[in-house]
């Protein structure tokens, strides 16, 4: 037997060699000091690489529904609009209101979409930090269970188990957001729905062991993406009346701060404020009759200051 290939050594270290394939490999290792040394070398490499990936920690903040918004209350449109208009006038955002019905070009000057997303940072409400994924044990000779992962969803293993636990309420709300987004997509893009119907079965097949059909699945995903308007489009300027209308008649602002600009991104309305350290964004979205908001501060912005600002968010 020639020397063991690098990929085989890694499969061995990852516990991905089936039990009936192990004996010849073990026999070779028993008689080949060079391959044993390489195996040890690859084990160290694997551990170092996994350690590096874990350095990239998961987000420590996640959007949740603030307690004061948990009550289900759809505000009266006209009253809220009048209130929002008066507040905006008071804080000097009148120029945004003037943008209503005005040609798009004139509103372009109010925002610079391209500068968005480069300074995203701390979210207002944080969940407990997610622990880094523990490295799967490098069971050198642990045989892979044949077909263990071949049918249906993978079992919740050691790596995924801690992830499902934290903060169920926040998770439920994020799911709710996804559901609403999906409903919007389905309503607004019949073509996309058709594409989805084509793509999804192909994607399912991708997960099956019939790997020969994977190309088709990739094509399905590509078609799906091409068929619908991306949700992650850069923010665009929006007029005050339009923003208020999208939020069901209610717009939230940070009391005492003067908005820099008003913009829409996907389903969200973003009120942007200038801070010394960068931009503060109050992103809000109407979900099932309720306005959900996130306050997004620049990196390094003190958490207690952010909490104070958050307390000043008002309708």
């Amino acid at each position: 037997m020639s020397h063991l290939e690098e990929g085989l050594l890694h499969a061995l270290l990852d516990g991905e060699i089936a039990s009936d394939e192990l004996p010849p490999i073990q026999a070779h290792l028993a008689g080949c000091t060079e391959c044993r040394a390489r195996l040890e070398q690859e084990r160290r490499l694997l551990a170092e690489a996994e350690g590096l990936v874990e350095v990239l920690e998961a987000p420590t903040g996640a959007a949740t529904l603030p307690p004061e918004l948990k009550r289900s209350a759809r505000p009266h449109w006209g009253r809220r609009l009048a209130w929002a208009a008066s507040v905006l006038a008071a804080v000097g955002l009148g120029y945004v209101a003037r943008g209503a019905g005005v040609a798009r070009e004139s509103r372009q000057t109010l925002a610079n979409p391209t500068e968005q997303r480069t300074d995203s940072g701390v979210l207002a409400v944080s969940t407990p930090a997610i622990e880094p994924v523990p490295a799967p044990p490098a069971a050198v000779f642990a045989p892979r269970r044949r077909g263990a992962n071949r049918a249906g969803p993978a079992p919740r293993d050691a790596a995924t188990k801690p992830l499902a636990e934290p903060e169920e309420k926040g998770a439920a709300e994020r799911l709710e957001k996804a559901v609403v987004t999906a409903a919007t997509l389905a309503d607004s893009a019949p073509g996309a729905r058709a594409a989805q119907a084509v793509a999804a079965p192909a994607a399912d097949r991708a997960a099956a062991p019939a790997l020969g059909r994977l190309g088709e699945a990739s094509g399905g995903f590509a078609r799906l993406n091409a068929a619908r308007q991306p949700l992650l489009a850069p923010p665009e300027p929006i007029s005050l009346p339009d923003a208020v209308r999208r939020l069901g008649g209610s717009l939230r602002l940070v009391e005492g701060l003067v908005p820099l600009r008003l913009e829409a991104q996907g389903q969200s309305i973003r009120v942007v404020y200038a801070l010394g350290q960068g931009e503060l964004v109050l992103s809000q979205q109407l979900i099932d009759g309720r306005v959900v908001f996130q306050l997004i501060a620049p990196p390094g912005f003190p958490a207690d200051s952010l909490a104070r600002l958050r307390a000043r968010v008002q309708e």
Binding site: L56, A58, V122, A164, A200
Partner: protein
């Protein structure tokens, strides 16, 4: 909100966001892409959810990157990764630098190698990685071996450069 979808969300959301965060370096973007991915799963529930969800999410990342590239947007991602800890400022700085170096090293990998590595870090089996990325199962060991080596080599090279500079 249907039960199976809620279960899917509870089971995979955090893992998906973590992988996306490692991939993009941007928390908001990771969360947005995850939301979009689950939105699609709601419309057409997948039968094999984990590979499906991660494949869709990675596809969205690629789409987003291509769009950003077309628009001439330059995504400055490292800035978003300020560590949040109670550590002393110096330690935080060191940690921030380390994170930036690891990300820079990760960026030197090919898309396929990087994605295989990140999926493995989420506990994916070789079968699942193969299904998610559209690769042959037999190629996964080699792909991961190459990805790991390149990551470690690029990181070490960055470290050396940093020591020389300082």
């Amino acid at each position: 909100m249907s039960g199976p979808i809620a279960e899917l969300f509870a089971q995979y959301h955090d893992s998906l966001v973590r992988m996306l965060y490692r991939r993009t370096g941007d928390r908001d973007r990771a969360e947005e892409i995850a939301q979009e991915t689950f939105a699609r799963a709601v419309v057409a529930p997948p039968r094999s959810p984990r590979p499906w969800l991660f494949a869709v999410a990675l596809n969205l990342v690629r789409e987003d990157a291509r769009r950003a590239s077309r628009q001439g947007r330059r995504l400055i991602l490292y800035k978003a990764e300020q560590p949040e800890s109670a550590a002393a400022p110096d330690e935080e700085l060191d940690r921030g630098e380390r994170v930036a170096q690891v990300r820079a090293a990760l960026d030197t990998l090919t898309e396929r190698d990087r994605e295989a590595l990140l999926l493995k870090a989420e506990g994916f089996s070789y079968d699942e990685i193969a299904a998610t990325l559209g690769l042959a199962r037999g190629a996964i060991g080699t792909t991961l071996a190459r990805a790991r080596r390149r990551l470690v080599d690029a990181y070490r090279a960055g470290e050396e450069k940093r020591h020389v500079a300082s």
